[in-house]
């Protein structure tokens, strides 16, 4: 019964979304009658449009009715999500979606997690997150603690953004109902479900979904704000300021989704690699890359009001690739299998919605992009141009990843030929793009706005350049047989690290003394600078770790007997045997290893082979130890013919750095957002840096 409530709530979301789109629409302004009815004098502005003096715009009645809509949508979305979760929790198999991915023996946590994995469930989650950010946007623009720019605004521009949000919610709601209606019921329920895909039964996989969809919802806000900036030809500091929270929030949550996904691939698959370049990963990476580019261009826009057109383009494209990525991961459009293998549907409505929304958006961009106007210009050697160049590089990387993802699908569609575009392709294409990007990233934060001089840059970067050359020389002399690509990676990581640190040092110690402590200097740098530095250093550390672990990885595959010890790097693993244990809905063969480092016991590792009887599928969980000199990754396989068990041990030096770097980048973003929120409520939106 509750599922029907959910279904109805889903319908209401569409209706309310449309309501919000209409009520907040700026086209009411075109009708002067309403304005005079309202009793306000009508002003003819110099732009030739008519606005009311009541400074509200919008509806004839000077109401704030439109401000209720987002809360209504949120309530509906919560009801829909709750109804779906309830159906999963009570295992209501008369809903095909539940029968498809859940089973009565699935543990509660994963029954909840399973609710997000099928297309329909993911769409409900996306709608919930969209309506959540919709409410946050309303509070930001019209709430009590609204930003100073929103206070200046006469309401039309921001209200228009809300109208677009309503439209997006309605479009995605319709797509949910048409493509993969999660609340469909069948008259005769099966006795039990097919069970959750064992490869998805993992806490990290469940955690990834909310992060992914918060990120995509944030991109929708960016899209809405950008679009209404284009409509009103006011793409300026005000919009940039409003976008700040959303770009960082989206960047952060997409980054978190990527990190979680990487760690999960690493720990769950027996051949654990943290990056495969497969469609699901690329569809996470694409919006993240464009959001990173946007993050930087937005800062330029806020500071100098330049790069308007490019920033607007990025703002529109980030959601475009995010949406398209969602479509790619769940569609069989390019394959020819949908009719036999998968569900009969193909996310057609999602694709049509995508085409309509973005055809409109880019048409508007094409018409209005020229008219935005750039009040100021900058020189080739300046902070603006370095940020611009790097954002173009990021967009290029995104384009390459997009082409690499789509090309095999298109080829299969046209030719019926099957090809794989994997790691080697991306490395070959991306290295020449990434090298200058990272080189520029090292000194871009030290550049001055508008104009800078080459020789000044040289003087500033002297120390960092010398240090990174020393690092490269040291590594290449010590390990002569090294191939160039990872060496360049390590060198660039050293370059970014030393450049960031020397800039931080210069700002802290060489700054004119304020007669106060260095702690005061640190405070004066402001949260933006600190979080930026943290994120850049995090990237450098991750890069160094990735390069080093790929070079010095050691792998041993042996057939081991109980008591046998296996050497990998500085570690020694002693195999203790396998025990047959029962999990909640699986049986597991759990191997025990005692890990020694230089003959001292460190820890015990328990890699497993799990067997899920419901689907008759085995999964392999690796045992991982994050040591100070790298990760030890052990997984077990079948029994060998000689009576031993096949054990694969990998020692990945400096792999820990990859995870530490990712976490540092995420901390950088979190720090930036937290200080932002604190400042907003302390000083009502006055930012100090």
């Amino acid at each position: 019964m509750l599922a029907e409530f959910g279904h109805f709530a889903l319908l209401l979301i569409v209706a309310t979304g449309l309501g919000q789109a209409v009520l907040c629409s700026p086209f009411w302004l075109r009708v002067p009658v309403h304005a005079s009815l309202q009793g306000n004098p009508v002003l003819l502005t110099d732009a030739g449009t008519i606005t009311t003096n009541g400074s509200t715009g919008g509806l004839p009645l000077n109401s704030r009715a439109h401000l209720i809509m987002p809360f209504g949508i949120l309530a509906m979305a919560i009801i829909a999500q709750a109804a779906l979760l309830h159906s999963f929790i009570i295992s209501d198999f008369s809903l095909p979606i539940v029968a498809e991915v859940s089973h009565s023996s699935t543990p509660l946590l994963f029954r909840i997690g399973a609710a997000f994995t099928p297309d329909g469930g993911a769409m409900v989650l996306w709608l919930l997150m969209l309506s959540l950010v919709n409410v946050l946007l309303t509070l930001q623009l019209f709430g009590p603690a609204k930003s100073p720019y929103a206070q200046e605004d006469d309401g039309t521009l921001f209200k228009n953004a809300m109208s677009i949000m309503g439209l997006l919610i309605a479009v995605l709601g319709v797509a949910t109902l048409i493509d993969a209606d999660p609340f469909l019921r069948i008259p005769v329920a099966p006795l039990d479900g097919r069970g959750m895909n064992p490869q998805s039964q993992d806490i990290l996989r469940v955690l990834r979904e909310p992060f992914l969809y918060v990120g995509l919802a944030g991109l929708a806000v960016i899209h809405a704000l950008t679009l209404s900036g284009l409509i009103f030809k006011k793409f300026d500091r005000r919009i940039a300021e409003t976008l700040r929270f959303w770009t960082i929030a989206s960047w952060l949550s997409l980054g978190a989704a990527i990190a979680i996904n990487a760690y999960r691939s690493y720990s769950q698959q027996a051949w654990g690699n943290w990056w495969y370049w497969d469609t699901a990963e690329n569809s996470l990476l694409l919006p993240w890359l464009l959001t990173t580019a946007l993050l930087h261009c937005r800062a330029v826009l806020e500071k100098t009001e330049t790069l308007k057109g490019w920033t607007a383009f990025l703002g529109l494209s980030a959601l475009a690739v995010g949406w398209f990525g969602v479509y790619l991961t769940r569609s069989d459009l390019f394959g020819s299998l949908s009719e036999t293998l998968n569900k009969p549907h193909d996310s057609v409505a999602l694709l049509i919605g995508f085409c309509v929304v973005f055809a409109g958006s880019y048409y508007l961009f094409w018409r209005r992009g020229e008219e935005l106007g750039e009040p100021r210009s900058f020189e080739l050697v300046s902070r603006e141009s370095s940020m611009f160049i790097n954002s173009v590089m990021l967009a290029l990387i995104a384009a390459v990843v997009l082409i690499g993802t789509i090309y095999p699908l298109v080829l299969r569609w046209f030719d019926g030929e099957n090809i794989t575009v994997g790691g080697p392709f991306y490395v070959e294409v991306l290295v020449p793009v990434v090298v200058p990007l990272l080189f520029l990233m090292g000194f871009a934060p030290t550049l001055r706005w508008r104009q800078d001089e080459m020789w000044l840059i040289g003087r500033r970067m002297k120390l960092a350049a010398i240090l990174s050359v020393i690092i490269i020389l040291f590594v290449s002399i010590r390990f002569i047989e090294l191939s160039p690509a990872p060496l360049i990676g390590i060198g660039l990581a050293g370059w970014i690290l030393t450049a960031s640190l020397s800039d931080l040092w210069a700002r802290l110690w060489r700054q004119p003394d304020h007669g106060e402590s260095k702690y005061r200097n640190l405070q004066l740098l402001g949260p933006r600078y600190l979080s930026m530095t943290l994120a850049h250093i995090g990237l450098a550390i991750m890069l160094a770790g990735g390069a080093a672990s790929s070079i010095w990885e050691e792998q041993v595959v042996v057939s081991a007997r109980a008591g046998q010890s296996i050497q990998a790097g500085p570690y020694n693993l002693q195999y203790e045997g396998v025990a047959l244990l029962a999990g909640e809905n699986y049986a597991t063969r759990q191997a025990t290893f005692i890990l020694y480092r230089h003959a001292l016991p460190v820890t015990e590792l328990f890699p497993e082979i799990r067997y899920y009887p419901i689907r008759g599928v085995e999964t392999r969980e690796a045992g991982i130890w994050h040591g100070r000199d790298g990760d030890l990754h052990v997984s077990v396989g079948d029994r060998a013919d000689d009576g031993g068990r096949i054990v694969s041990v990998r020692f990945l030096p400096m792999m820990t750095w990859v995870w530490a770097g990712m976490i540092m980048m995420l901390i950088g973003g979190t720090f930036s957002i937290l200080t932002r929120i604190v400042l907003r409520f302390q000083k009502n939106g006055v930012s100090t840096s």
């Binding site: 895909n197 051949w271 299998l337 210009s377 590089m393 057939s559």
Partner: protein, 162 residues
């Protein structure tokens, strides 16, 4: 003053457009060359037999059903030999390492590696990351090509019912 500013802006726009065009052209060139030498083609066993002998330096993927009863471990304890088939032709594969989670006799599998001179496919990787449908899409397609898709599909459906 305003004239020189307009000029400066025009010059700046030229820079920007030039830079973007240069970047796009460079990327296009890179992508095209990379497509030529680092794309891995997928072949079904029939295609492998048709095209043989295949250059041992060429990386490729092969996919098909694992022949029932063909999986055996070699003397060294870690090399595994099996054969894949699309029901028309069969190709032997050797692989050392741990087989992926979803590897089963009679089920679909995709392996990446190269053909050696003896006509054995030496796999460096047996792919683990296909979906839960027991059938990598490429394998399903090659089965359709060889005309045995319906039979296998019916068998799978039966297994699922049991």
């Amino acid at each position: 003053m305003s004239l020189s500013r307009a000029k400066a802006r025009k010059r700046q726009r030229m820079y920007i457009i030039g830079a973007v065009l240069l970047a796009v052209a460079g990327a296009a060139a890179l992508i095209l060359t990379a497509f030529e030498d680092s794309v891995v083609f997928f072949f079904s066993p029939t295609e492998i037999i048709e095209k043989s002998p295949i250059d041992p330096d060429q990386r490729l993927r092969i996919g098909g059903l694992v022949v029932e009863g063909s999986v055996q471990k070699l003397q060294d304890g870690k090399t595994i030999a099996f054969a894949v088939t699309d029901m028309a032709e069969t190709v032997p594969i050797s692989y050392s390492g741990i087989l992926p989670d979803l590897f089963r006799e009679g089920q679909g599998v995709v392996a990446e590696g190269h053909m050696n001179a003896e006509g054995t496919f030496v796999a460096s990787e047996v792919l683990a990351k296909h979906d839960e449908n027991y059938m990598p899409p490429e394998v399903a397609e090659s089965l359709k090509k060889s005309g045995y898709w319906e039979e296998i599909e019916a068998k799978n459906a039966e297994q699922m019912r049991n």
